[in-house]
Symmetry: C2
């Protein structure tokens, strides 16, 4: 522990601090420190000793760190090195691992989540919490505790009276633009569906990215969401712009994304905590089943659907799941701009749209319509199709575009698409038996998606019969350089398998 005088510096990361190498020899370069001033305490990412910028006895802090500490230049802070600090709740995580039959209580989960939020728990410690979930069965009661604790980590919406609907997809399927049809269908039926979506993390486009391709605003405050939803019935906002479930966001960024792990208890709690925070009480869950999705078998999908349904019951959310085909892209397009074009065209002229897009959208929307009582059992999908074909869903979508500050009269061709094009040609006659979603996703990302809305893939053929020389898909990129990068990805692994084709040669 050592006292320092604060000076303001310009530094990134903003929670790094600078001290002078002179006279600070006894401060060992450990992994973790914290700054204390009066009652305020903040964790420090990195203490860096330098010569220059800071003088002996001074500590350089960013403006943002000074704000967190409620500190001014010239004031004193103490720097506490933390030798082998184990966050207070980490011992609970270890007990759960080593003691057979040990389960978490609500209080314990609250402590763990709190340590994550306030920065007591290092990402390394959190990795043990998450990795252990890959191996140890969690009771549904524990998942319920985790969900509640995550939900309580940020803001929560109170809608007062009335039912709030939502649709959520577990992901893993490229081109899954169905929310852009389902939200206006449900809102056109007179229900409230304030959809929040993430941006893409590993995929070419998240629903939030696709909405941006229309020119929509997607960052709203809680109050704005309530206001828009009460006016239009529906909207599609970006989850990250809201302060809901920050603990989940932190775990994804610091541990799950870098490690590429998504253990089931955390995955379920992550999905439903956001629904609890958003005040949802009717949820249609889309469980894509197939290679590269979260569940590979029907049995696994059914088990997960039942677990979600029971967990929802405990949290006051009625959940019905639709298990969907997840082994090839939905519709013809992948990437923000192309997906926006396709969804808009389907809203305007549903009869010309692809079966996979219309079928998946209306069947999932149908589930919500039946749950709400707007349609009788077995007639939900028909009612959804009717709302689509009558133009009511499109009219509602125009209202939503306007509410999100985009042009309600935008046409599919108005949405810009990358001019640099590579055509993937069928090397032989035959039946396309496999589309490698991961290769397609990597190529679209190499072309610039999701940041560059113009990048993506357009499928002329999917699981179809093709003739040698026919174009199977077109890859669009904003620049030649991006196109080359995307082509390089396609060269690494076969994106399309035609029956009878040679897959490799050694």
């Amino acid at each position: 522990m050592k006292k320092f005088k604060i000076i303001k510096i310009s530094v990134e990361p903003q929670d790094a601090v600078l001290i002078s190498r002179t006279n600070n020899k006894n401060i060992a370069m450990q992994a973790r420190f914290r700054l204390v001033k009066g009652q305020k305490e903040v964790p420090v990412t990195q203490v860096v000793k330098v010569e220059g910028i800071v003088q002996e006895g001074e500590i350089g802090l960013s403006k943002s760190l000074m704000k967190k500490l409620v500190a001014k230049e010239g004031e004193e802070v103490t720097l506490h090195p933390q030798s082998r600090v184990i966050s207070p709740s980490y011992s609970l995580v270890k007990q759960r691992i080593t003691q057979p039959g040990r389960l978490f209580t609500q209080t314990e989960i609250d402590q763990i989540i709190n340590d994550i939020i306030i920065g007591n728990a290092s990402p390394l410690e959190s990795s043990v919490f998450l990795t252990s979930q890959l191996f140890q069965e969690w009771s549904l009661t524990e998942v319920e505790y985790l969900t509640k604790s995550l939900a309580a980590s940020g803001q929560m919406i109170d809608w007062g009276e009335g039912n709030i609907f939502d649709k959520h997809s577990l992901g893993g399927v490229p081109g899954n633009k169905v929310s852009l049809l389902i939200v206006p269908i449900i809102a056109a039926a007179g229900l409230t569906i304030p959809k929040t979506s993430s941006r893409a993390i590993t995929s070419p486009s998240g629903t939030a990215d696709t909405m941006e391709a229309f020119g929509c605003d997607i960052e709203f405050t809680i109050d704005e969401i309530v206001e828009i939803a009460q006016r239009t019935g529906g909207l599609i906002a970006w989850t990250g712009g809201l302060n809901i479930v920050p603990a989940d966001e932190k775990l994804i960024r610091e541990v799950q994304f870098p490690l590429g792990i998504d253990p089931e208890p955390m995955m379920m709690a992550s999905v439903l905590s956001k629904k609890v925070a958003m005040g949802i009480n009717f949820l249609c869950l889309d469980i894509p089943c197939g290679s590269a999705t979260k569940v590979e078998t029907m049995e696994g999908a059914k088990r997960l659907a039942h677990r979600f349904s029971e967990l929802g019951q405990r949290l006051g959310i009625r959940i019905e799941s639709g298990i969907t085909y997840g082994s090839s892209p939905v519709g013809h397009t992948v990437g923000p701009g192309l997906e926006a074009r396709e969804a808009l065209a389907a809203l305007i002229e549903p009869l010309k749209a692809s079966d996979s897009l219309i079928g998946k959208s209306t069947s999932l929307a149908g589930i919500l319509l039946e749950m709400s009582g707007k349609a009788i059992q077995g007639r939900g999908q028909d009612f959804a199709s009717e709302l689509l074909q009558s133009g009511k869903a499109y009219a509602k979508f125009q209202e939503i575009l306007e509410a999100q500050n985009a042009d309600p009269n935008i046409r599919p061709d108005d949405i810009e698409i990358g001019k640099c094009v590579y055509e993937y040609i069928a090397p032989q006659n035959g039946w396309v038996v496999e589309i490698n979603n991961e290769v397609i996703a990597r190529a679209a990302r190499a072309a610039g998606a999701p940041m560059d809305k113009r990048a993506g893939v357009y499928f002329l053929k999917k699981k179809d019969s093709v003739k040698r020389g026919e174009v199977i898909f077109r890859l669009h990129a904003p620049t030649d350089k991006k196109l080359l990068a995307a082509e390089a990805e396609l060269a690494k692994e076969v994106p399309i398998v035609i029956e009878g084709m040679l897959l490799g040669r050694e």
Copy 2:
């Protein structure tokens, strides 16, 4: 990827680098970067953007980092941000987790260890490798691969002809100074025992720390170790001073120590890789059994002994284990100076020494003497006692002290002990039924051990009958401040349990 001109700066940690905030907006603050210059590549702990010290286009590197890159001031390097880089071998770790029945091959383990050494694998990724070992059974063949791969990560000793002996304790027992007796006994029998020991990590004293209390040098090169061992038969050196098994050292520092985990496959490989690197072919393994040690039951200890023996066979090391009582300290003392005093006194006058110290030392030494053929089966301990009582072991220890540059005629009282003393008094009559090793260890560390050799605990009574008011132990500290800190630890939790005593009151 961006090019920079190198300038030399003074910075800690030495693998942090500084760049200017001006014009580097597009470099996102990710967790991982690497610097590349020609064929050389080094990972960077932290990129810090500042205003001052470095100008636009410059990158500030420490002398040590420039050396690693073989770079001079003014030369160019490129900085590569690594977005979600998964080390090449991390996918193997994930496959082992998700694919039932999947086992590692030697090549795969080699890749994983190599990624750890060259800094490709982040501590977070390594934590998954280690945490998964808490849950997934490893085949002995996989442990063998891991041992070989760890051993090959650093220098290895080739002794040419002849047998090399060693003794290793799995740890967890305070005051375990038996190596200080075993090494001279074995060397006095004419065998070679080049013992390498660690410093204390969580205990009050490691064997290396205790050797330093005699004024011994403990850092040697491989050549020096061979030279001393061939001359005296024995020595006690610090493992950390040698470049053997650096991958193990890195995993302990970056993952196992901060997380407090020590999964069995890694633990076994860690122990035996050091023996392989040191060229040991006869090993006596001390498996302390009891609370706060690595194994709590006799069954567990026997199972571990068999696994070690079989693993040793595969690696060309004959291993016999002694399962020892681990629930109270060995001898009367805990802490470097006090332990050095007790061990030296026991070598000089073994008949006056404590039964637990003499008994444990001679029985383990006896195992080695029988393994070597120096004693027939069942007579090893007697021969060890004879070497001790005849003064031959003490004479050998004097040779070792001299070889390690300490005074061979040092007497127990010459070793300095903390003058500030707290006496722990029996609060009632009765039998001491428990000594809480962890509380004793925490108090000794609070008093300054192992860094301050003078700090420690001296037991007048162990599991004995005591009278109210009798002194059970004395805690020694170098200063009053340290003494207060140690007393505070003793106040937190009961260090000694006397039968019938009230343990708490709510």
